[in-house]
């Protein structure tokens, strides 16, 4: 049965009206935030004082903000990329997964990591590789059986863990290549597992994440997390903290996690109007309790970030997370900026290596069907003939493609 669009017409009209109101509010907030950034752009002492005061006096369980790292160039100015190193080795990984389906014939999940090693400046074609891993009840790595019954978020967390551990392994493997080695993930470095499974398994996975970060550092590599159109509002929180006395807002307003207190704005909206094509913002240290735990475990792993305008148009803005061991070294920071810009130039506005890693990782519907056929054949050869549930069967009837007799 198709959707009853008539019933939805009033909601669609209301949705459009609401979007109009929000856009007006957002524009007002953007104007205010831009003015604040200009006002505090180089008031380093004041910024340090007030953010340090906030860290001491606010409840850090709820307060997330940012603080400039270098206190050099004004915060409202874009920084142009320098020339990238003549040679560098860039490794990127990305992951995808097939989550367990208790209505399907067999319980399993699959994590596939796609990886690319790009030899910048050498003219060599990149190396690509995929690292698929099948897990099933009873296999040696699947001690937590709940993953097969309740939890797709645990599979996602394990995928994230594999993304960075494979990345660390590959960065170690290319140590002999000329020039710096840069590992890139297409997600935040300040890893924060979410979902029901995070309570039980999150701590171990964050531990493994931090360990992989340290391993990349120990191998002499650099690391960056590239986040397209990030929703983070840490810089906005910083500006509102600086202006707390004048704004009439309370500390509790800044504890709120939803972006509505900033009129739906995020940091990317702010820097989208300030940065020119290929420019980056100043580097900020992420101020949060979570980052404090990263720093406690390994001071080099404290996460910093900058914003990068990846394309000439509006909205083409990414956040780049870098660990302190990269952010603290000017040469490394400038090279990461330049190499990311160079990568974006290949296809216009997004790093080529991330595009390719994603493409290698993706497990399409056809691949999934082929995998399940092979599992079924192997099971049948052992005399195992399970059936799919009635619910799954009915879904397959409803979603099956129609075919036509063509003679």
């Amino acid at each position: 049965m198709s959707l009853e669009f008539e019933q939805l017409t009033p909601s669609i009209a209301e949705m459009a009206r609401e979007a109009g109101h929000r856009r007006e509010k957002r524009n007002d907030e953007l104007e205010k935030a831009t003015a604040l950034l200009h006002e505090y752009a180089d008031k380093w002492e004041l910024i340090d004082q007030r953010i340090d005061w906030a860290i001491e006096n606010f409840d850090m369980k709820f307060y997330r903000s940012a603080k400039p790292l270098h206190n050099e160039l004004p915060l409202d100015k874009g920084i142009k990329p320098q020339e990238p190193p003549a040679q560098a080795t860039i490794v990127a990984t990305d992951g995808s997964q097939i989550v367990p389906d208790r209505h399907a014939s067999f319980l399993y999940y699959l994590i596939n990591i796609g990886a690319i090693t790009y030899y910048h400046g050498s003219g060599r074609p990149p190396d690509v590789a995929a690292f698929p891993k099948l897990s099933y009840p009873g296999d040696s790595d699947s001690a937590e059986d709940d993953v097969f019954t309740v939890s797709s978020d645990l599979v996602s967390m394990r995928r994230d863990e594999r993304e960075i551990t494979v990345l660390a392994d590959l960065v170690k493997r290319v140590q002999g290549e000329p020039g710096p080695k840069l590992g890139i993930l297409d997600q935040r470095l300040l890893y924060w597992p979410i979902g029901n499974s995070a309570r039980i398994h999150g701590e171990r996975i964050v531990f493994e994440w931090q360990k992989a970060m340290s391993e990349i550092n120990d191998a002499g590599g650099w690391l960056a997390g590239f986040i397209d159109r990030s929703g983070k509002h840490s810089v906005l929180a910083m500006l509102h903290t600086l202006d707390l006395e004048n704004s009439g807002r309370t500390i509790k307003d800044l504890y709120a996690f939803d972006a509505d207190i900033y009129g739906g704005l995020s940091d990317t909206d702010l820097f989208d109007v300030l940065l020119g094509h290929e420019e980056r913002s100043a580097v900020f240290v992420d101020i949060s309790l979570h980052n404090k735990t990263f720093k406690l475990r390994d001071p080099g792993n404290e996460v910093c970030f900058f914003y990068l305008k990846t394309g000439p148009g509006d909205g083409q803005l990414a956040r780049v997370d870098i660990p302190m061991w990269v952010a603290g070294k000017k040469e490394a920071l400038n090279s990461v900026h330049a190499l990311l810009v160079d990568q974006c130039r290949i296809i216009g506005n997004y790093p080529y290596v991330i595009t390719r890693a994603d493409e290698i990782a993706v497990v399409g519907r056809r691949d999934q069907e082929e995998l399940e056929n092979r599992i079924e054949l192997q099971m049948n050869s052992l005399g195992i003939y399970p059936s799919i549930t009635s619910k799954q069967q009915s879904k397959e009837y409803a979603r099956a493609q129609k075919s036509r007799y063509e003679g």
């Binding site: 030899y119 003219g123 216009g348 493409e359």
Partner: protein, 210 residues
């Protein structure tokens, strides 16, 4: 497979009248429009012969993005061509088959199966053996009105075999006679075919052929 066998890809899909072959970029250097190929299931005594009548190179979103860049980098082009799984698709018109060593110039009893290897026929003796009997030309002409560019396919195929048979003008003359016979009531195909053949094959005397 003999020493002259060159695998150019594998069967993607098939029916009785032909099959589509998926190839990698590196497999594209030898086969061409009009080449004689064969689908040869391993260990089977059944071989299906066909002529390549179309080579299709698909794009995708990433290729479209790269095309928009002023000068794509050589390493990126190489990455696209060697590492990405974008098959080149060749369409093949079935023109005969061999069962237990006997050649037949008609449609095969069964199409090849998915993933059967497809081989470019380069062995001179095999080419001679298959093309000595011109019965397969009827299957090419039968495709008139379909997506197969019959006149161009005939010319490309005849030229290719002429070279592979050691510039065998006598064979071309016999082919032209057969084509004239088969197309005597279809001047729209016959005339451009003969014109193209006379310019493609030096030394071919059409008057002798006629």
């Amino acid at each position: 497979m003999n020493e002259n066998s060159l695998e150019i890809g594998r069967v993607l899909r098939a029916n009785t009248t032909g099959f589509a072959v998926g190839s990698r970029v590196k497999q594209l250097s030898a086969p061409g429009f009009g080449s004689l190929v064969k689908a040869q299931p391993a260990g089977e005594h059944e071989v299906i012969y066909g002529l390549i009548y179309n080579i299709n190179i698909d794009d995708d979103q990433l290729i479209r993005r790269l095309v928009m860049v002023e000068t794509p980098r050589p390493e990126v082009i190489e990455d696209q061509r060697t590492n990405r799984i974008l098959p080149i698709e060749m369409s093949v018109l079935a023109v005969g088959y061999r069962i237990n060593g006997n050649l037949h110039y008609s449609l095969p009893p069964r199409p090849p199966l998915n993933l059967d290897p497809v081989i470019l026929v380069e062995n001179a003796a095999e080419i001679r053996q298959f093309t000595n009997n011109l019965g397969y030309l009827r299957l090419i002409l039968r495709a008139e009105g379909s997506r197969v560019p019959v006149d161009q396919l005939l010319v490309a195929h005849i030229h290719d075999v002429y070279l592979r048979r050691g510039e065998d003008v006598a064979w071309v003359v016999s082919v032209v006679r057969e084509v004239i016979e088969l197309l005597r009531s279809n001047y729209e195909v016959l005339i451009p075919t003969l014109e193209a053949l006379s310019s493609a094959i030096p030394g071919l005397n059409m008057e002798t052929a006629e």
